[in-house]
Amino acid sequence: MLLTLLTHQWKADVRSSVFQKGLALNIIMGLLILYFGGIFLFLGFNIDDILLKVFPSQDPVAVFNGGMLYYFLMDLFFRFMLQEMPVLAVQPYLHLPVGKNRLVHFVLVKSVFSFLNVLPLLFMVPFMVSAVVPAYGAGVASVWLLALVALTLFNNFVLLYFKRQLAAKPLYTLAFGVVVSAVMLLDYFDLLSLNVASRAAFGQLLLQPWLVAVPLLLVAVAYTFNFRFLKEHTYPEELQVRKATKVSGSNIAFLSRFGEIGKLIELELKLIWRNKRPKSTLVMSAFILFYGVIFYKEPYMDGYAMLIFVGLMMTGMAMFSYGQFVPGWQSTHFDALLTQRISIYQFLKAKYWMFLAVTLFAYLITLPYGLLGYKILIINTVALLYNIGVNVFIIFYFSAYNTSRLDLSRGSAFNWQGVGASKFVMMLPLIIIPLLIYMPFGLMDVPYVGLATIGGLGLLGLIFQKQLLQWSARWFMKHKYKLATGFRQSE
């Protein structure tokens, strides 16, 4: 039975519409997997040599062991961000004669096959073969590996448990987070050395292999906790991590003064605020604001091209990442929009003003970077002008090709729904065209003329925004049937 359920899971993954849509996307995904898999494998086989070079006098296995606790703590963090709750999949089985125990086992066993659990094996196994086996023998080495796998799974189940508690008992999860951070801080201030503890623990394991019982016991305990908790809560409404949320975000009074456009903007703000995917898209683009911390130093500060790139990204990222799916955000009610008394021109104009506002906002937030040099200030202003004068319309142009429906309730991390080849094509001109415009001026060594040209184009776009918007609306009109048809195909 468990096997049948697992084959269903396999079918669900293989048949998921994401895989069946874009060939280009699959190829890119495949290449990414190969690339990262390759890096991990390479690291695994060579890490002992690398460690020997960095810490010449020390045993690479001991150094590796010393890093393990850090690794497992980081692992917990990444899991918190990325790991999904494999839960709702049981809904179609609840009314069937399948025992609850089985379903709960299924949910838990299923979580083991996540890439977060498989990926570490790619470097642990080669390291074991190339470093641990020669030093300690195959038997002890496999026990060592078993302990690492057990700890990986322990992390897996511990996190599932706490993430699930997040909805019911947030304090539990908070306490857990505080403990983990406290350990990290203690280590940072040298009050407690994770390195030493980690070395001692895993070193002992190599000397006394029976200690592997400890991590195995930990896994068993974590599994049991999960099992008990899930068994008690096999009701769909309780399993959902996100409960039916209360209505949030009230009417924004001042927007209604702007007539139809104001109402459309208000509608869109509610859409963003009340749905997971647009919200997380925006939150993620906020991280780009920290690009400056990375790039505003030598050697980048000498050139211009890199800084233009950073400026475009920082001021425009929210617009780029949200705009690349326009009008897919409205895909579930696109027909409704088309039949209402709203013209496409108004629809796009509302978007235009939103993009303008958010880009300006990002510009204002990144203004303090200007303290690092007036050059940054000039470049960011140029980037701002170009983004709201030219890039907006490039986004509108490409939006006519976004015919895939979006499910707004899912997060945006690793969510490939609605991501097609056109997305990659579209992101390029947003960044590359301004750089190409700049290039000849850069080569002729008149950078400020180049900047003025980019900014000037942006200004032209601002001046002729009405005409450009009308043109965008006509372009959009031409494609509206194709868009509406695409949106009607769920998944």
Partner: protein, 231 residues
Amino acid sequence: MLTVKDLQKVYNGTVVVNIPELTIYAGEAIGLVGNNGAGKTTLFRLVLDLIRPTKGEVYAKDVNVAKSEDWKAYTGSHLDEGFLIDYLTAEEYFKFIGDLHGLSDGDITERLLPFVDLFNDEILNQRKYIRDFSKGNQKKIGIAAAALSNPELLILDEPFANLDPSSQIRLKNLLRHLRDQKRMTMLISSHDLSHVIEVCERILILEKGQLVQDMQTNENTLRELETYFTV
């Protein structure tokens, strides 16, 4: 067959279902009618142990459905698309349900025979996943899967919704056939008063979570119901 005792479900302070007492006898076909928000689907979910009651219990064959899972063996149900495994084909889904009840492939084919008319050549051998079927066809798949095991208790939420007129009539005959031939106990909700009267011999009216009327079907029932629902 089914006994409901002191059942209550409260969401954010609003009582959605409140049924002090209800008994359904084996072989009865019960029609549940009521306006939107009356709590029909919530009641079904409570009976199927899909939501936790705020108070009270549901007993199937004198066993609390929340405590034991025995009821699953003799209950077939379809409430909404959430009951379907949408990435399977219709055949794969029937096979899966059949396997759960120990049916052979032959059994499954045979038990689907009465559904051939209803399916109208649009369900089987289509080479597509359930998620790609229309709402009406998904409903047909769900109903067939629920009835596949010849359950003693059949629970259907709005089986006539989304179906075309011919399918509605075929389904009506099919349900009557199941009731008369297999002596299935049925619990069916519907907004279509005439259909539900033709299929069911006992009608329950639900309003704001309360059971307001419990009547046996006779020639006057339709008129009574229409009077009741005329505002």
